[in-house]
């Protein structure tokens, strides 16, 4: 049957992505000796006072290039174990690296009860069909996960900083002037970002997100009222500390933060970011309506 064949291909695509992820997990696990050592540093330790960066003609610190996460590319937000070292009761987290959630202190996202229920439903059915399929599997963009998944390139032009994410060739064009955000009637997969430099820290204010992309592979989510504040602190030319505060009173009981360290991608001179045509390559997952229908 056609449906079966298409379904099989979609599953194969999922498995392929899973294998790639598992490879990264194993690699990350070798680097991260244990949960305590793997914890991200407290957020307030990241300062950039010491570094005197090269400057571009418009005054921006020159931070152009490809950046990758220092540890473990897979984007699962919460730690694999509880703080006392026990496996998480839900047994679903497979990441050996550090927790991406750095606040609250228990590394758990402060969901409102209805939202926790929704997240758990999405997580429990993440290999399911229909609305349970993670939009990223379908090559749809996520403004948060791009940097954690594949190469993340920073480009700088006068008055702008551009984030170009290799995965599904999505980008954010971020003006550095004081223009207002686009109308809040305009919802965007990649959001609407404005930024300014505070020393060598780029502070990005992002709104207008449609929040259809998930925040992690475990069903974590936000809503259209999400206000994201990102701080990219360039400690020197070889290290950047990233923090993002999620403020969304529709979904959470309080603002919370993720954090991660980034390093330049090691690449030969002349390395170029080449085409990553996700949607075009994974046609069963990205184009077929049939394999998303619920089994009835």
């Amino acid at each position: 049957m056609r449906i079966g064949a298409r379904g099989f291909s979609a599953i194969a695509a999922l498995i392929l992505r899973g294998l790639i992820s598992w490879g990264l997990i194993l690699w990350g696990g070798i680097l991260a000796p244990g949960p305590a050592a793997g914890q991200a540093p407290p957020s307030d330790t990241a300062t950039s006072a010491a570094w005197n960066p090269p400057r571009l003609p418009d005054g921006q610190p020159d931070v152009q290039g490809m950046w990758i996460t220092a540890v473990n590319a897979v984007f699962i937000l919460t730690p694999a174990v509880t703080d006392d070292g026990a496996p998480r009761p839900d047994g679903r987290a497979r990441q050996s690296g550090p927790s991406r959630v750095i606040d609250p202190p228990d590394h758990q996202i402060p969901y409102q009860p209805w939202a926790k229920e929704k997240q758990q439903r999405l997580q429990a059915n993440k290999d399911g069909e229909g609305e349970f399929v993670d939009p990223q599997i379908r090559c749809l963009p996520s403004p948060i996960r791009g940097a954690f998944w594949q190469d993340f390139q920073i480009l700088q032009y006068p008055g702008y900083i551009i984030f170009e994410y290799e995965g599904n060739h999505v980008f954010r064009i971020i003006p550095l002037d004081d223009r207002p955000h686009a109308s809040n009637r305009i919802k965007l997969w990649m959001g609407d970002s404005r930024a300014h430099w505070e020393g060598t820290t780029l502070v990005v204010d992002e709104t207008n997100m449609n929040s259809k992309g998930r925040l992690s592979r475990e069903g974590d989510f936000a809503s259209e009222t999400l206000h994201l504040t990102e701080r990219y602190t360039f400690l020197d030319s070889k290290k950047m500390h990233y923090e993002a505060t999620f403020d969304d009173p529709t979904v959470y009981t309080r603002p919370w933060k993720i954090g991660a360290d980034f390093i330049p991608k090691r690449a030969p001179a002349g390395y170029e970011q080449w085409e990553e045509a996700c949607h075009e390559g994974e046609r069963d997952a990205a184009l077929s309506d049939l394999n998303l229908s619920s089994k009835k």
Partner: protein, 256 residues
């Protein structure tokens, strides 16, 4: 009491007398330029043309505005087998056009999807490539202007590989390494993986680019052919690229 209107009229008269003169004299020296003297193509541009419906002269049909063609001489020099294929494509265009599946549209079609795109260009270190970002499906192109050659093929990309250089005030972009999956328009005009596209971007005044393209494909056409159109600068205050995240399925059904 009467002073205010008089002053307003005077200002109006002065404005009128200056505006036409300013509009008439966009000398080449008035083109925006970077510190290195290259014309500065930075900004948001858009095509106003029916080229995406049909590159050639065409009458109106339901949902298709009539349009004057953009092909020099109006004829596309297909080999006989390829003309038959084009005609078959035209018949099946409602479903066969790769655009209906939201695939990356290739070059030069990305320029005339009808959606705006933004040029980013700088002197100094950043002059090694020009970045073009398109509202259509988050398409990106890097035009390497650092003298590097095309990577060794065979490679088949949707958007090809772009290497640029300057000939006087014209940015010349050489594009190869395409696949055979994209069309030039909704009328079934097509190419093979041997497609070679040369684009020429020439500022004719601060707000208009003359966009000239030479298309070559020895497998499909009997000779190279040319098309051209004008790119218009979007000047509205705070105009910015938004998104057209194209889907090949009913995304709202599952992700409302």
């Amino acid at each position: 009491m009467n002073k205010t209107p008089h002053i307003a009229m005077l200002i109006g008269a002065v404005a009128l007398s200056f505006t036409p003169a300013a509009a008439q004299s966009p000398a080449a020296s008035a083109l925006p330029r970077l510190a290195d003297g290259k014309p500065d193509l930075s900004g948001i541009w858009q095509v106003f043309s029916t080229a995406n419906f049909d590159l050639q002269d065409h009458a109106a049909q339901k949902g298709v505005p009539a349009g004057q063609g953009v092909v020099e001489g109006n004829e596309i020099p297909y080999q006989p087998w390829a003309l038959a294929k084009k005609q078959e494509n035209f018949k099946n265009r409602a479903t066969a056009d790769p655009e209906t599946k939201c695939y990356l549209p290739g070059v030069p079609r990305i320029t005339y999807t009808g959606l705006p795109f933004q040029f980013f260009q700088a002197s100094g270190k950043a002059s090694e490539k020009i970045t073009i970002l398109y509202e259509y499906a988050h398409t990106n192109r890097y035009i390497y202007t650092n003298g590097t050659p095309h990577p060794k093929g065979p490679i088949e990309w949707w958007m090809g590989d772009s290497r640029g250089h300057w000939e006087g005030d014209t940015l010349v972009v050489d594009n190869v390494h395409f696949n055979d999956q994209t069309w030039f328009d909704r009328a079934g005009n097509f190419h093979s993986e041997q497609l070679h596209v040369v684009e020429r971007y020439t500022l004719i005044d601060p707000d208009h680019i003359n966009y000239q393209v030479t298309v070559e494909d020895p497998k499909v056409f009997t000779r190279p052919w040319n098309l051209s159109m004008i790119l218009y600068r979007r000047k509205e205050k705070n105009f910015q690229l938004l998104e057209y995240e194209c889907y090949g399925f009913d995304v709202e059904k599952y992700y409302p």
